[in-house]
């Protein structure tokens, strides 16, 4: 093994030092891989004035510049070092449409149906329980609201899939799981996937645009 594993279990991706000790290097390393795609996707949403947006796992705030100033964005992350980088960006640009909170993506401390849009970029393969994160996103998104996820999901191709699985211990060490399947993450969450695409044929990452199928019945109960 090229690195030490914890007794009997794989390291959780979010425990990687990349999200704490190396937060100041994160932008330098990752902005070229992530930034343009995220910005293109956010702009394509044409978020209307006054819309309430939640970004889950905002990290160092690579996405923030793409949100139109006429919407209200609440952005959360668990790592204080990453949030500090995001806060600096908000201050430097004088942005007034962001609120940053330290919160766990698996326990979103908002009531049901609080947001019109919920976005999350390159987070779901980092959290210890992806299905729970999707359930929380679904819960806080209003009925008919939009959910936008960008992530690497394991390919369904017969040769490449197992190869990627073999790399999973290494990528976990670096800070993410490579073996998460899209179907796994969305299992049992009542969402309608409107679009699922890659921004280029060779991209490792999939963009998923979904709307919340949650309905309000006449008794006022959400389903």
């Amino acid at each position: 093994m090229i690195f030490a594993q914890r007794e009997g279990s794989l390291r959780q991706p979010h425990e990687s030092k990349i999200y704490s000790e190396f937060s100041h290097l994160y932008d330098k390393i990752f902005s070229r891989f992530f930034c343009k795609r995220i910005a293109t996707v956010i702009r394509s949403l044409s978020i209307p004035p006054g819309a309430k947006v939640l970004e889950v796992g905002v990290g160092t705030g690579l996405s923030l510049s793409a949100y139109p100033p006429h919407c209200e964005v609440t952005a959360i992350d668990l790592a204080p070092e990453m949030l500090e980088q995001a806060r600096q960006k908000v201050i430097e640009h004088g942005w007034r449409h962001f609120r940053l909170l330290r919160m766990d993506a698996l326990n979103l401390e908002f009531p049901d149906n609080s947001f019109d849009y919920v976005t999350s970029f390159h987070v779901i393969s980092v959290v210890p329980d992806p299905v729970r994160m999707m359930r929380e996103i679904h819960r806080v998104c209003r009925p008919g609201g939009k959910i936008v996820i960008i992530n690497h999901f394991r390919t369904t191709k017969p040769v490449l899939g197992p190869l990627v699985d073999a790399l999973d211990p290494l990528t976990r060490h670096l800070g993410w799981s490579a073996s998460l399947r899209l179907s796994q993450a969305f299992a049992g969450v009542p969402l309608v996937i409107e679009k699922q695409f890659k921004t280029s044929p060779f991209s490792l990452f999939t963009v998923v645009l979904a709307h919340n199928r949650k309905e309000v019945t006449t008794d006022g109960v959400m389903h």
Binding site: I76, P80, R87, L100, L101, R102, E109
Partner: protein, 56 residues
């Protein structure tokens, strides 16, 4: 980056999911039911039970 009134209205206590209130000094959010103070550090509320301060 002051906390907006709208955000305060929708934030809930991580423990009981009930209402929370901004302290007079604006340096934390209090859940009176749980007697917990969630600190606001560098303008960022820390909405984590593990980091909450127990009020006597």
């Amino acid at each position: 980056m002051a906390l907006s009134k709208e955000l305060l209205e929708i934030l809930v206590c991580p423990q009981c999911k009930g209402e929370i209130e901004l302290t007079a000094t604006q340096d934390g959010l209090i859940c009176h039911a749980c007697k917990l103070l969630y600190p606001i550090k560098d303008d960022i509320p820390v909405m984590l039970i593990d980091e909450a301060i127990r009020l006597e």
